[in-house]
């Protein structure tokens, strides 16, 4: 079994989205490119027979996190300014580090011996029923913990984002930062 054409197209789409998200000048463009990368990843999951994970990825990342990032950009006035210059010494350093990390990872993949044997795995049974049962029986404790954590995160985000009313000099405006959260 070899890499298929859909996989290649999706991989290129995802990577292009990721690269664009990290290199474009306008922050809103970055956010949109980021959502392309997220959507490409969701499609990759679907390509790998992980239906539920792919749709959850689409729902959470494209539907919520991308929107959240866009809201944050607009709330921090990033939407209308060309924020930064393209190249700096720190930028080159970061790129070199990232390249080194990639080289190590690729080398590890290549030498680990999992890259070359032909895999003959039938698509695993990922029916909704199995996932539901797994979540409700085997992984019920992590699920509860996640629920608790999400509640805590939501309350925390609201508390962080709500405007402090104490200082009288604080500017009163119509925008509500907690809207997206």
């Amino acid at each position: 079994m070899r890499m298929t054409l859909p996989f290649l197209i999706l991989a290129i789409l995802t990577l292009a989205g990721g690269v664009a998200a990290m290199t474009l000048r306008r922050l809103v463009h970055c956010a949109l490119a980021l959502s392309v990368a997220f959507a490409g990843l969701a499609a990759l999951y679907l390509n790998l027979d992980a239906e539920f994970a792919g749709l959850a990825q689409l729902l959470v990342y494209v539907g919520a996190i991308a929107i959240l990032i866009v809201f944050a950009i607009l709330l921090t006035r990033g939407g209308d300014s060309d924020a930064e210059k393209s190249f700096s010494p720190a930028g080159i350093g970061g790129a070199v580090i990232a390249l080194a990390v990639f080289a190590v990872l690729a080398w590890a993949t290549e030498t680990s011996g999992i890259a070359h044997p032909a895999l003959v795995t039938p698509p695993p049974e990922s029916a909704m029923r199995e996932i539901g049962l797994a979540l409700m029986q085997r992984y019920v404790l992590p699920l509860e913990v996640i629920a608790l954590m999400l509640t805590a995160a939501m309350i925390g985000a609201v508390i962080l984002a709500v405007r402090e009313r104490r200082n009288p000099a604080g500017t009163e405006s119509a925008e509500r930062p907690g809207l997206g959260a």
């Binding site: 239906e51 959850a56 539907g63 029916a127």
Partner: protein
């Protein structure tokens, strides 16, 4: 009996049979392609055609509700009005603002229409007539629906217009707020059906006790859930009375203010397609999809049932649009979080009660059914009345008197 059933079944499956016949008569290498095209093209043709019909229905219906005639010039009774509209929007100049972000401005309507069309993939529009029978169909629908928010933002932001950005922000805030009751009210159905597949949800409802079908809307939680679902769907598709994102009197046309010509038509199309899709999901979840309500009506082809129900819901949308005035932003948010969310949670509880109450008591199935129905109705109605009391406290509605006018 079989003689009577056979032609009915043939009419029911006519499109399925036609597709198989066409695929069988194509040369081997193209069979997959033809099969895919034969699944996609009907969706791309039928629903925009329905959009054309709906626009003229809506304009005539609104006209009659306001004691006017409505369009009646193009063709007999104005039925060719959509044709004239199409010609107009196709021949109009496409204006892009100079300061707009051209790429994003161009992509936004395409993304919106594409996602709107994708949602139809999982809707069973007839027996054996689901484009893609996904195991997680309902989840797919909501995941695709989430992507429309981004398209709306793209349109609003790229136009470089304060009204369009305001409209987009309003639209996103509203869509996120109402997505929660929309999903939670479908969760009740998913709990009872035990599946996320739209096809199987419809199959579950296509059984009959006596002559009455097992539609979810016939149960107390289903009825309440259906009403909540449709309210949330109205808000989700930005239709009146929740049309704040495009409130003409406030922000002119909202996020698509800077679009003209064909792109404007695309926004219009996408809006109606979303309305059809979410109505289709409502039909699938609560109104038994393509099944008939009574077993003696089962001879009517399933796709006629689906489109009949769809038209009925569209008429409902138009009726509501002609009746209710637009909400204010704070009223909209209060309604979502103080009324819709608690009520959908109550509906889920009621569905749970329904699941675990026995359908028959002491050998009498009818008595048990009635008791179960009443108990579940009480579970929904009690909190509703209490919530209504709380929300209406200190609010007296009286006729306004004018001191100087009249």
């Amino acid at each position: 009996m079989s003689v009577a059933v056979a032609p009915a079944f043939a009419a029911d499956q006519i499109f399925v049979a036609l597709k198989y016949w066409l695929v069988l008569h194509t040369p081997g290498p193209f069979q997959t392609l033809v099969s895919i095209l034969l699944t996609i093209i009907p969706i791309i043709v039928v629903f925009p055609a329905l959009f054309a019909v709906t626009t003229v229905l809506e304009r005539k219906g609104l006209g009659r509700i306001q004691n006017r005639y409505g369009p009646n010039r193009v063709g007999p009774w104005g039925v060719f009005q959509p044709l004239a509209d199409a010609v107009k929007s196709l021949t109009k100049e496409d204006i892009v603002p100079r300061s707009a972000d051209h790429v994003v401005h161009y992509l936004a309507p395409l993304v919106l229409v594409a996602t709107a069309f994708l949602a139809f993939a999982v809707l069973p529009i007839g027996r054996n007539m689901t484009a893609v029978n996904l195991d997680a169909g309902v989840l797919f629908f909501f995941a695709i629906g989430a992507a429309t928010e981004l398209a709306v933002f793209m349109a609003g932001w790229s136009s470089r217009n304060k009204y369009s950005l305001l409209g987009a922000m309003r639209a996103i805030a509203q869509m996120i707020s109402y997505e929660i009751p929309l999903i939670l009210s479908s969760v009740a159905v998913i709990m009872i059906s035990g599946t996320l597949s739209t096809t199987r949800i419809v199959d579950e409802q296509a059984h009959y006790t006596g002559t009455v079908a097992h539609w979810n809307v016939f149960t107390p939680w289903g009825l309440a859930g259906f009403i909540l679902f449709m309210i949330a769907a109205t808000a989700e598709t930005n239709r009146s009375p929740f049309d704040l994102p495009e409130g003409e009197s406030e922000i002119i046309a909202g996020y698509f203010i800077e679009y003209s010509g064909f792109k404007f038509a695309l926004f219009f199309l996408a809006e109606y397609l979303e309305m059809f899709a979410v109505s289709g999901l409502g039909i699938t979840l609560f109104l038994g999809g393509w099944s008939s309500p009574f077993s003696f009506l089962a001879w009517i082809p399933s796709w006629i049932w689906f489109f009949g129900k769809l038209l009925a819901l569209i008429v409902g949308f138009i009726w509501v649009r002609g009746t209710l005035p637009r909400l204010r932003m704070d009223q909209l948010m209060n309604f979502a979080w103080k009324f819709m969310l608690p009520m959908t949670l109550v509906v889920i509880v009621s569905a749970g009660v329904w699941r675990f109450l026995p359908a028959g008591v002491a050998g009498s199935a009818a008595l048990g059914g009635v008791i179960r129905w009443l108990v579940c109705a009480l579970v929904v109605a009690g909190p509703y009345i209490a919530l209504a009391r709380v929300l209406e406290r200190g609010r007296k509605i009286e006729k306004r008197t004018y001191r100087y006018a009249e």
